[in-house]
C-alpha cells in the first residue's frame, strides 16, 4: 500500500520493571482495514494500544498516529476509543456522555443519529449507573464512534453483550469499514476476528509471532479436522497414530490430524458404513492456540 499507515508501531520496546511488555513489536493499521490484535493475556496487547493512544511512551522504537505523536490533540481528533475497563459517572445519562465526547471533535455525528443507529433510544436518558454491563458497552461504543473517527480503537468491544447486541455491533463495524473507517480490534473472541478482520496479528510475550490475513494465519497451521458418523469405538480411533485429538461434535466424531488423507484411508477401510464425512481446515481458534502455545513456555490459553 502506497498510502502511509494511520497508526504504526516500529520496533517498540516497553518495560515495566524487569518485565518486557513489548519486546520489539512492529505493527501498522492502514486505511480502510480492520486489524485484529490477538494474543493471550499479558502478551502486550494493552501496552501496544496504550502506546498508540499516547497514554504511554515506548522506551525504544516509535509510535506514530496519523504521522504525528500519539499525544497530539490533532491526531486524537481523528480517532475514536473504546477501552476495556471504563468507569463513567453513574449519575450521567448516555445522551449527555455521548454529547460530551462529541463536543471534543471537529465534525462529529449528531448525537441523536448515533443513538438511533445503535438503537439506544430506550436507554439514552436513564442514569448510566442503572444500565446493565452490556448496555454500558453499547454506550461506550456510541461514544467511540460519535466523533466520526478515521481510526477506531476497539478493545474487547463485545464482552458482556448478548448475541443480538453483538450482531448489531458487528453490523455497525462493517458499515463503518465500508464508509472508509479503519479499525484496530483486540478481542478474546476468535470468531469475532474471524468474522470481521481483514488482517490479524498474533502477539505473545511482547513479540509478533504471526501476522497476515485470516486465511494466511489458518494456513500456518497444518491441522485439519475430519468429521463423520462412524460405528467405530472412540478408543480404536484414538489408537491411530495420525489422530492427535478426538472429540464428539453434535453426534459426529471429530478427529484432528496433520495427515487427513491417511486418516481417511484408515477410516474408510475400517468402517464401510461411515457417512457424513467432512474435512475442515483448522479454524482461527485452533490456529491461534497452536501458534501461541508453540511460542510460549507457559500455557497459551485464551483466558
Amino acid at each position: 500500500m502506497s498510502q502511509p499507515s494511520l497508526a504504526r508501531l516500529h520496533d517498540a520496546h516497553k518495560h515495566f520493571g524487569k518485565i518486557a511488555a513489548l519486546d520489539g513489536f512492529s505493527f501498522e493499521v492502514n486505511r480502510g482495514e480492520l486489524v485484529a490484535l490477538l494474543g493471550p493475556n499479558g502478551a502486550g496487547k494493552s501496552t501496544a494500544i496504550s502506546l498508540l493512544l499516547g497514554l504511554q511512551r515506548p522506551d525504544r522504537g516509535s509510535a506514530v498516529l496519523f504521522g504525528d505523536e500519539p499525544q497530539s490533540i490533532d491526531a486524537r481528533r481523528r480517532i475514536g476509543v473504546m477501552m476495556q475497563e471504563t468507569n463513567l459517572p453513574a449519575v450521567m445519562r448516555p445522551r449527555e456522555l455521548i454529547a460530551q465526547v462529541a463536543s471534543y471533535y471537529p465534525h462529529p455525528y449528531e448525537v441523536s443519529a448515533v443513538i438511533a443507529r445503535l438503537a439506544l433510544e430506550s436507554l439514552a436518558d436513564r442514569p448510566y449507573g442503572k444500565l446493565s454491563g452490556g448496555q454500558k458497552r453499547q454506550v461506550q461504543f456510541a461514544m467511540a464512534i460519535v466523533g466520526r473517527p478515521e481510526l477506531l480503537f476497539l478493545d474487547e468491544p463485545t464482552v458482556g453483550l448478548d448475541i443480538h447486541a453483538r450482531e448489531a455491533l458487528w453490523r455497525v463495524v462493517r458499515e463503518l469499514i465500508h464508509e472508509g473507517c479503519s479499525i484496530l480490534l483486540t478481542t478474546h473472541y476468535i470468531e469475532e476476528a474471524e468474522a470481521l478482520a481483514n488482517r490479524v496479528a498474533v502477539l505473545t510475550h511482547g513479540r509478533q509471532v504471526a501476522a497476515g490475513t485470516v486465511d494466511e494465519i489458518r494456513a500456518h497451521v497444518s491441522n485439519k479436522s475430519i468429521l463423520c458418523r462412524t460405528k467405530l469405538a472412540a478408543d480404536e480411533i484414538r489408537s491411530w497414530p495420525e489422530v492427535l485429538q478426538l472429540s464428539e461434535e453434535s453426534g459426529r466424531q471429530c478427529m484432528v490430524t496433520k495427515e487427513a488423507e491417511a486418516v481417511l484411508r484408515r477410516l474408510l477401510g475400517a468402517d464401510a458404513t461411515v457417512r457424513d464425512i467432512e474435512v475442515r481446515r483448522a479454524g482461527l481458534a485452533q490456529a491461534f492456540t497452536e501458534i501461541t502455545s508453540s511460542n510460549s513456555t507457559s500455557s497459551g490459553s485464551l483466558q
Partner: protein, 507 residues
Amino acid sequence: MNAGHSTMNRSRVVAAYLGDIRFELVKMIRTPAFAVPTLLFPLMFYVLFGVFMGSARGNGAFALYALAGYGVFGTMAPGLFGFGVSLAFERELGTLTYRQALPMPAGSYLLARMANAMVFVCISTLILLIVAATAGHVPITFGQAVHLLLVNVLGVLPFCAIGLFIGSLVSGQAAPAVVNLIYLPMAFLSGVWFPIEGMSKVLHQLAPLWPAHHLVQLGLGAVGGPTVGSTANHMAALAGVTVLFYFLAMRRLSNRGFQLLGPARGGGTAAPLRRALTVGLMSIAIGLIIAGVMGGNAPRAVANTAATSNDATEGNSATAATDAAAPSGAPVGVAAPEVPLVADFDQGSERSRYGLGWQAGGDDMRGGSSKASQHLVDVGARQSRAALEVTGEVGTAIQYPFAGTSFLPNGTENTEFGNQGYMDYSAKSTLSFQARGDGQTYTVMLMGPRLDVIPSMYGFVATADWQEVRVPLKDLSGLDLQRVRLISIGTSTPGPFRFQIDDVRVE
C-alpha cells in the same frame, strides 16, 4: 496529512470547555455525597451556631464571626472533595485514562472542576449571606457581601490544589477518609467553627500553619470583623499553598502517566527551561508560605474600616501593641473584694461599690453613632429603693455598634481605656443582676487585656418584669477571669432601647 480534518474552529473549542464545566456541574449536583456537605452543612451549622447561639442570644459578634467561619467551611469542601475524592476514584477506576485518550481541550479537566468548585462556593456563601442578613441580623453592607463572596470564590483554589494532591496520592477507597481527616481538624484548628484565641494558646499560635486560618482572616476582614495578621500575609500563604500543592500533584500525576494539562510535547530543549521554571515557582511558593505563616497571627486592633486592615503593625494604638507584646504576660488583676455586691443604686448614686462605674456610653469613641444615657429611677427590683435606667439608640454607622452602661472593676478616673487595670475574678463564678426593659435582647460583654479579640458575651432578654440574669463566668468562651478589664451591659441591635438594672453582684 489532511490538516483541515483535525483542526477545530475556536467557537467549538470554547463550547467544549463550557460543555465540560456544565457536565461537571450537573454531575456534582446529582451526587448527594458532594452536594450535601458542600451546600447544606455550612448552612446547618451557621443556623445552629451563628443564628441560634449567636444572634438570638445577643451575641451579634459571634454571628458575624460565624459568617466568615462557616463561609470558609463551605469553601473547603468543594475544593477538597471535588478534587481529592473524585480524582482518586477516576484515577483508580480508569476513567482518567480514558479521558486522556480523548481529544479533550488542554486543561479542560482541571478547569471544569475548578469552575465547578467556584460555583458551589458562590452558592453556599450566598446562602450564608442571606441567612446572616435576615435571620442572623448581621449588619452587613452590599460591598462587604461582595467582598466576602470574592474572598471565598478565590479562596477555594488552595483547597482545590490540596485536593488535587490528595487525589493524586491515595486510592479512591481511602480518599474520603483522608479528606475528612484533613478537612475537619483543619477547620477546627483554623477557628472555622469558633475563634480559637480563647481556647488554647498553643493552638492559637499554630493556627497560621493551616491554610483555612488565613482564609478565615480574609473573610473576617471582608465583613469588617476583628482580624489578626495582614491581608498581604494571608494572601501570600494561600497563594503559596496553591502553587506548591498544584505542582506536587502535577508531578505525582505525571509520574503515574497522567498529563492533566495535555501532553508535554517535544521534551528536548524545552525541558531544562521548564524544570528551571518549576523549581523557581516552587521556591517562591515555599517562600510565600513561610512569610504568610510567620506573619499570619500578628495581632492587630479591631479594624473599624477595611482601609486599616492592610498592615499589622501600623496604625495600632500603643495600648494594643503593648498588650500584643505580652498578651497573657500582663499582670494578673487585683483580687476581687470578698463582698459580692457591685452596685444596688440604693444610696442615691449611680456609682459602683468599687472600680469605676457605672457610665453610660455609646460607640462614638470608635466613630459610631450609638448613644446612651442613664439615670436613677425610684423603686428597684424586690421593692428596693432605686434602680439604674439606661436609654438610648444604637446607630449603624460602624460594624459592632454598641451602647449601654459599663463598669471597670479596677478602673480609675482620668485614665485612658487601654491603660485601665484588671480585676482578678478567678475566685468568683457568677455575675448576676436584676434586669427589666422593653423586651429586646441585650448583651453582657466582658473584656480582658486584649483589645483585638472579640469580647466574651452573654445574651439576655429584658422583659417587662424584673428578672434575675445569671452569667456563668467560668463558662464564657475566651474570658480570662484573672484579668477582667470591663463589664458592659447594653445592646448592638440598631434602634432605640430602654432597660433597667439593679443589684449587680459577682460571686
